[in-house]
């Protein structure tokens, strides 16, 4: 059974009227149906393209890819959601900076502890070796 979505819409082949008005209507109908199907194809393709491009761009500039991918997927700019996207991107970058700072602080703590343990060990070995009979 054929998928209803693939059934052809009324097109020029089905039109048999010989009058100019009916012919013009048929041509207009054909143009409208073709443009709507093209728009559907473009919309779906745009969504796929947007998601792929967005993912690739996110590797280079986190957040920017999502923004641009979203714009392509919707077929244009949507200023209301664009502000939200920008805000989300800024929040993500702030979180990333916070994480980086914490990692740096932890690394510094590990280095300090390592230095203490090494100095302590050296001092202990020196004290043991300095024991005289």
């Amino acid at each position: 059974m054929q998928d209803p979505k693939t059934l052809p819409t009324s097109g020029p082949k089905d039109q048999t009227s010989s009058t100019d008005v009916k012919k013009g209507d048929a041509v207009n109908d054909a143009k409208a149906s073709t443009s709507s199907s093209e728009q559907k194809k473009t919309g779906k393709f745009g969504q796929v393209l947007g998601s792929v491009l967005g993912g690739a761009l996110n590797v280079i500039a986190p957040g920017a890819g999502w923004l641009i991918g979203g714009m392509i997927g919707r077929g244009g700019t949507d200023f209301g959601s664009m502000e939200q996207l920008l805000q989300h991107s800024a929040q993500q970058q702030m979180q990333m900076l916070t994480i980086q700072e914490r990692v740096q602080a932890q690394t510094q703590e590990f280095t300090t502890i390592t230095n203490i343990l090494k100095a302590r060990h050296d001092a202990e070995m020196a004290a043991i070796n300095n024991i005289r009979s």
């Binding site: 703590e109 203490i116 100095a119 302590r120 050296d122 001092a123 020196a126 043991i128 024991i131 005289r132």
Partner: protein
């Protein structure tokens, strides 16, 4: 039983340090107590016993042992260092820092002074000053 050579006792002391680092505190204590009986004139095994208690988390007992050792060997930088260390863990930051600075000024090039400098740098981590 033949008297043990000092070099053999040094090996036992190192064994005690290793056992402490492995977390085998009871074994470390046994070894170090034995060596302290065989080396009555040295502060090293007594200080090491104090460090075992410190690493066990028994800070009060560690402080008591280090103070006892320091009273017997007041000129020992090694004993002073580990006494200051236990003061840091007891949150007595100002006293610890005073002792550590005194160690550094008395012999700036010694290994004990280097450890004292490291402990001073780590004061904020061990004993935060809120």
């Amino acid at each position: 039983m033949d008297a043990m050579d000092v070099d053999d006792l040094k090996v036992f002391l190192e064994a005690g340090v290793l056992l402490r680092e492995l977390g085998r505190y009871d074994d470390a204590e046994t070894v170090l107590r034995g060596v302290s009986e065989l080396l009555p004139d040295s502060e090293v095994p007594r200080v090491l016993l104090g460090t075992v208690e410190l690493q066990r988390g028994r800070f009060s007992e560690a402080q008591r042992l280090q103070e006892e050792t320091l009273s017997r060997y007041p000129n020992s930088l090694y004993a002073q260092l580990h006494h200051a260390e236990v003061l840091l863990f007891q949150k007595k930051r100002s006293e610890a820092q005073t002792e550590l600075k005194a160690i550094i000024s008395s012999d700036p090039d010694s290994l004990h002074s280097q450890t004292a400098r490291m402990l001073l740098l780590a004061s904020d981590m061990i004993c935060p000053d809120y």
